[in-house]
Symmetry: C2
């Protein structure tokens, strides 16, 4: 008999948190407004000891976060469906993290550096291939910095095989069906295709690493 309850456990090492944050690009940012929860999905990137998020002031949730309203930021990765011999014992393999705190709205050099870090996470290597953002563009971008503070974050994960219990029907298949996020075939714009522009190095690198 093999039970995997310990397969699901809190991750308390900062390295584990960093790995979970670095493994994805989309999270959800939640705030409380007038006692009610509001949430918005965001592109993000971990830059050192902070989560960097950017967006438009149009979104109420981001406006509240930019104004210093406490936030809860969540990232979750589904890694597999865990098939046990009953639905009750079945579950999912996953990695998740929640970071609590208050965002700082960045400006000028700090905003530029943070945005560079975020851009490098979401589009690695791309900054070197394109023009710099103009001052007007920088002014139009809201950049938020959510610090990662000891005691203000949680990480949890389940890994490993399915639980197998003594009285399981031995004829039932048990195991894990993995789930992965993959990159597809790059699709050029009509303009780039018409000009025969070659795939950029940054994308070739992403395809090579799968990230």
């Amino acid at each position: 008999m093999r039970i995997h309850r310990l397969a699901e456990r809190a991750r308390t090492a900062r390295d584990d948190l960093d790995d979970i944050l670095d493994a994805g690009w989309v999270g959800t940012l939640s705030v409380s407004v007038d006692g009610l929860p509001q949430v918005v999905p965001v592109l993000y990137g971990r830059v050192g000891d902070a989560v960097i998020v950017h967006g438009s002031t149009g979104a109420g949730t981001l406006r509240a976060a930019a104004a210093g309203s406490p936030v809860a930021f969540c990232v979750a990765h589904l890694d597999g469906f865990v098939y046990a011999a009953s639905l009750f014992e079945s579950s999912a393999n996953y990695r998740s993290a929640v970071v609590h705190g208050v965002c700082e709205r960045l400006a000028d050099n700090e905003a530029e550096a943070a945005l560079a870090g975020l851009s490098e996470h979401v589009m690695p290597g791309r900054a070197a291939e394109v023009r710099a953002n103009t001052a007007k563009e920088r002014a139009a971008t809201i950049v938020l910095r959510l610090p990662i503070v000891d005691g203000q974050w949680l990480a949890k994960a389940r890994t490993g095989p399915a639980s197998v219990l003594e009285d399981d029907d031995p004829s039932v298949w048990t195991g894990v069906l993995p789930v992965r996020t993959v990159l597809g075939t790059p699709a050029p714009t009509a303009e780039a295709a018409a000009r025969g522009i070659r795939l950029p190095a940054s994308i070739e690198q992403r395809l090579a690493t799968g990230r």
Copy 2:
């Protein structure tokens, strides 16, 4: 010149919301507790006009939701990285939905039906291959039903190619790098492998559809 600001827009048709909800298995559930946001990632399934979520009463956020605290439930799918000729014009293709409301904690037949619907979404076809849950197991499972109510949900998506502007550097590649979620090769438990148990029909079907 081709600008795709309209590529990012609200989806107002209920069918669009359903498609977005049906396309994934993991969402985030946010509540406000003492004026502060709390969030937890959850496995979910849309069953008719509701989102069904289940979990353990150990999680504070789920306890609050089960007690009737208003929730904001979010699902987001990253579909691609949109490479424009500048970082400012670059973005992501995605589909997202937020459902607001109050959860109902289900019991007995309603809970069983909802859980069956959720299970069918997360592990299609599996219920027919395994034993039924026992009464004790059912009692240990908390099942929440979040109704999908007109006016209490939002859906938004960006699709399509990158924006191309008149003064773009024409030598820079523009286009979309797609992102997909895929199923991997099923990994049997040591026990199932040792017994030579064949892959179940439900998994073969999932692999065939990619879902």
